[in-house]
């Protein structure tokens, strides 16, 4: 079962809706098959599009001849990079972090060079799927195949084939004179490293690797797009941000933003992977030529080969400690694979690497390295899980070496309010120690292990972000309400939006119906990512509801012919505080019914840029049983403890924690991109890209520790990303416990575990 460990209420609002578990408003559509996802849209006269992809990991495009494809009956458009503007390099912030518009354009459609197996080189739109597929076969591309490199460490070698001939490493002084595949160096340091290690009585150092893994959303990318002759465009697509899609489509096709309207479909999972565009600009380009709506849907093979995995990494960690377990110094070097274009999450990894711990002396160096693999995309706490795998592994070894309980060593060194985070600022209102304590006191932690089983503990950190959001609240004539946001709902956020509005209005959650609106129907909102929606968009919703309440109070005052200061709002009704008036309370419905008489429709829209998202911490406990003959690792028990601010809808908070833990377990045990010597992905399907199935997992117990975030009206903070940070290390530390030696290279798949056992004798 799932526990909520409640802190004493600090601010004490008596919450009636927040913290309950109502059925989500979009739920019935989703259990009946009505909900329309990206591929479910269909327009009259719609064409079917298909994309031709490079079979080579690295090649120069000598020529592309589309003559035969264009001549095929039923083909209405063929596009290549020549049909897109050749854009200059420009950093642009529309996704989760700044993207280079030129790189994005080249990723959407290769120009001059293909940089990975699966890189798009041309696309067709035709009257049927079979005609479109036939047309792909008629496009003649002449490639000059180049040597390739897919591994991050090999790509850093001075002799490695160069992906971008002019790329000079940033962040190195003086700048290198020769180009390389190293896009950028990140560095972060504090104190005196040498002195710190000199003060250590025990020093543990180890090197770790992780493989590229995919977000693995079950819904492949899909969109329908249409453009008129004057450039006005509509896109229906499944993404984490309709405004992100609008911005990128306008940029990549040279359109006015006002001419692009993006209508969000239901999104079938994203986890960061749908924070950029792949199909939408192509569908628009095809529609521009054909004059008809074009639908593009990726196959699973395309999703794996051409969309965002996260980085494969190589990480070295060295930590020193005194005999009593106090850390004296830490040194981390991490190499992150960016894929075809710069932009791995190495920077975030540098910032999170030691964020859980109080350290006087440290040095962290990060490298962002391009490889002939798909351009990485954000994946849930981008960059953090891999470095946590390494750092938490070394801390586990330190604890073992020193004979200190693994939670105790983390409590001893863990950050608290008032300490300076490794990434700079001073922590305020954090819940790491509370989370550690809850883990230590949880029955799982003291439960006996079966012989041969191992138990691992690991901690994780994520910043969470805020950002720009808009929300509108419209009161209906019967006192019900509509809350409109621009934030796609991936995991049930519509429920929390309705709940927060309902809490302020003083009505039941089912009296407020939430809508995720298109780009023409609500003000700008950043995409759903960075665990920001319930925090930032929730703040906009709350403020909009508060404005509506103010308006309701004013209208009640008008009705009672008193001042607004004499009106209170309680339990969904206006109460008159004016002792001179003997009047009955006015209900929300009564006030709504009189809206026309008291000033017109009652609604409010709030746009804001939310700051001060509080960071979150997680501590996971994992038990494993290992078949020492087959090398198979079974997760026998799993508990995930997390500081969640305040849970608006606890069931969906638990769901985030459980889902994140499950993804991390998959990453630890079996998921990996496997590239052949030819540089092609060998396992671009769910059969051989092994995400956990139901029988692979136990129940995942989610324990919510509530340390309210003072910057949010209800204390909420982001919860979606933290839970994927600890599992890689929690699983690996448990395997370490069961085996008696450490395995530092993910995934811990049966062949590797058995081979390690054989080596260990």
């Amino acid at each position: 079962m799932t526990d909520v460990i409640d802190k004493p209420k600090q601010d004490g609002p008596d919450l009636k809706v927040v913290g309950t578990r109502p059925v989500r408003p979009d739920g019935v559509d989703k259990v009946t098959g009505r909900a329309a996802f990206g591929a479910d849209y269909r327009l009259p006269g719609m064409l079917t599009g298909r994309i031709l992809r490079s079979p080579h990991p690295h090649a120069r495009i000598v020529s592309i001849d589309t003559t035969k494809a264009k001549a095929l009956a039923g083909v209405k458009a063929v596009v290549t990079a020549a049909d897109f503007p050749d854009l200059d390099s420009e950093e642009y912030e529309a996704g989760e972090s700044a993207a280079d518009i030129r790189d994005l354009s080249l990723n959407v459609m290769a120009r001059h060079k293909v940089l990975y197996d699966g890189h798009a080189v041309a696309a067709v739109a035709a009257t049927s799927a079979s005609v479109a597929e036939e047309a792909l076969g008629l496009i003649e591309v002449v490639y000059e195949v180049l040597p390739h490199v897919t591994d991050v460490v090999e790509a850093m070698s001075p002799t490695a084939p160069l992906l971008h001939e002019g790329m000079i490493t940033q962040g190195v002084t003086p700048p290198p004179t020769r180009p390389s595949n190293i896009a950028k160096r990140f560095a972060s340091q504090r104190g005196d490293l040498e002195a710190g290690f000199a003060a250590a009585e025990v020093v543990i150092e180890d090197s770790f690797t992780t493989q590229a893994v995919h977000q693995g959303y079950i819904e492949p990318h899909a969109c329908v797009a249409t453009m008129t002759e004057d450039g006005q465009s509509v896109v229906w697509s499944s993404s984490q941000g309709q405004f992100m899609v609008r911005t990128y489509c306008a940029k990549l096709l040279g359109l006015e933003v006002a001419d692009v309207r993006v209508i969000p479909a239901e999104i079938g999972g994203g986890f960061g992977g749908k924070t950029t565009v792949y199909l939408e600009p192509v569908a628009l380009a095809l529609s521009r030529i054909s004059g008809a709506p074009v639908k593009l849907v990726m196959s699973r093979d395309e999703v794996f080969r051409a969309t965002g995995p996260t980085s494969g990494t190589a990480i070295t960690v060295k930590i020193g400690a005194t005999r009593d377990g106090r850390f004296t110094a830490a040194q981390v070097e991490l190499k992150y694979q960016a894929g075809a274009f710069p932009g791995s999450p190495a920077g975030a990894a540098v910032m999170t690497a030691l964020a859980c711990y109080d350290l006087e002396n440290f040095s962290i160096i990060g490298w962002d390295v391009v490889t002939n693999t798909p351009k990485v995309a954000a994946y849930r706490a981008p960059g953090a899980p891999m470095v946590a795998f390494a750092v938490e592994g070394v801390i586990d070894e330190l604890a073992r070496n020193l004979g200190i309980d693994p939670i105790a060593i983390r409590e001893l060194n863990g950050v608290r309010d008032g300490m300076k985070a490794s990434y700079g600022p001073t922590f305020r209102n954090i819940g790491f120690q509370e989370t550690l304590q809850a883990a230590r006191e949880h029955p799982h932690y003291s439960a006996p292990l079966a012989p041969g089983e191992g138990r691992g503990v690991a901690a994780g950190f994520w910043f969470n972000v805020g950002g720009e959001s808009t929300a509108a609240l419209h009161l209906n004539e019967d006192g019900s309400a509509v809350v409109v946001t621009g934030s796609p709902d991936i995991g049930g956020s519509r429920a929390s939006m309705a709940m927060m509005a309902a809490e302020v209005l003083g009505v039941g959650a089912d009296r407020v119906r939430p809508v995720v609106a298109d780009t023409a129907s609500i003000g700008f909102s950043m995409l759903t990512g960075g665990s920001r929606t319930t925090f930032a968009t929730g703040m906009a919703v709350t403020q909009a509801a508060q404005k509506v309440v103010e308006s309701l109070k004013a209208r009640a005052a008008m009705t009672w012919e008193t001042g607004a200061e004499h009106v209170a709002w309680e339990n969904g009704q206006a109460i008159c505080l004016d002792p001179a008036k003997d009047v009955k309370a006015l209900s929300l419905a009564e006030l709504a019914a009189n809206a026309a008489r008291t000033g017109g429709p009652i609604s409010a829209e709030v746009s804001l840029n939310a700051q001060g998202a509080g960071p979150g911490f997680g501590v996971h406990i994992c038990d494993v049983a290992i078949d020492r003959e087959t090398g198979h690792v079974a997760i026998t028990r799993y508990t995930a403890v997390q500081d969640v601010g305040r849970a608006i809808h606890p069931a969906y908070v638990e769901g985030q924690i459980q889902g994140g833990a499950a993804q991390g377990i998959g990453w630890a045990l079996n998921e990996e991109y496997v590239f052949g010597d030819d540089g092609r992905m060998q396992n671009s399907g769910f059969l051989d890209y092994r995400m956990p199935v139901a029988s692979d997992l136990p129940m995942i117990e989610a324990v919510m520790v509530e340390v309210p975030n003072p910057r949010h009206p209800f204390g909420a903070k982001g919860v979606g990303e933290v839970p994927i940070v600890p599992p890689l290390a929690a699983v690996a530390n448990a395997v370490r416990g069961a085996l008696g030696f450490r395995m530092a290279h993910l995934p811990l798949s049966p062949p590797k575990v058995r081979a390690a056992l054989d080596r260990s004798g």
């Binding site: 098959g33 492949p220 999104i267 699973r300 969906y652």
Partner: protein, 161 residues
């Protein structure tokens, strides 16, 4: 290539449609019949998002050709709620928050119903193995399994009452 004329019964109703001979039943349901509840997550039978019942057997509609549906009785997610009310499984999925994005949900529900139709009292392990053909990336399966077990309990109670 001429299309074939197919007659079948879908969610109790007779249907007729034309399909290319190599078209999957999934594409036919979605594109010819407008039943988009079954989803394509992989096209290779590995994710189960396209699960439907054919002659009371649970299958992946992406691994069946449309012409194979000739004369068959097909049940899809669109037919699960009856007489204006949700099936207990659908209700339990909502009560337990057993869905996040909801993309795999139709397939999971069809598969879970097939389980309970033939095994009204499955263990957790039996439920997990039966549903192993339905990938969910959002939930970690915890709430899905709880919802199915809870629905099974409710259905057993309803039957014994």
């Amino acid at each position: 290539m001429s299309k074939v004329h197919i007659r079948a019964r879908v969610n109790g109703d007779p249907v007729e449609f034309l399909a290319e001979q190599g078209m999957t039943l999934l594409d036919a349901l979605r594109d010819e019949l407008g039943l988009t509840g079954a989803k394509e997550g992989c096209g290779s039978g590995d994710c189960g998002a396209c699960s439907i019942m054919v002659d009371e057997r649970l299958v992946c509609s992406c691994l069946m050709l449309a012409p194979e549906a000739e004369g068959r009785r097909i049940e899809t997610i669109e037919g699960m709620a009856r007489d204006g009310g949700l099936h207990p499984l659908q209700r339990k999925f909502l009560e337990h928050a057993a869905l996040q994005c909801g993309f795999c949900t139709p397939g999971l529900l069809v598969a879970a119903k097939a389980l309970l139709d033939q095994n009204p009292d499955p263990t957790e392990t039996e439920t997990r193995f039966w549903l192993a053909g339905n990938l969910c990336r959002c939930t970690g399966y915890d709430k899905v399994i709880r919802a199915v077990m809870d629905a099974a309990a409710e259905l057993r109670q309803a039957h014994s009452a």
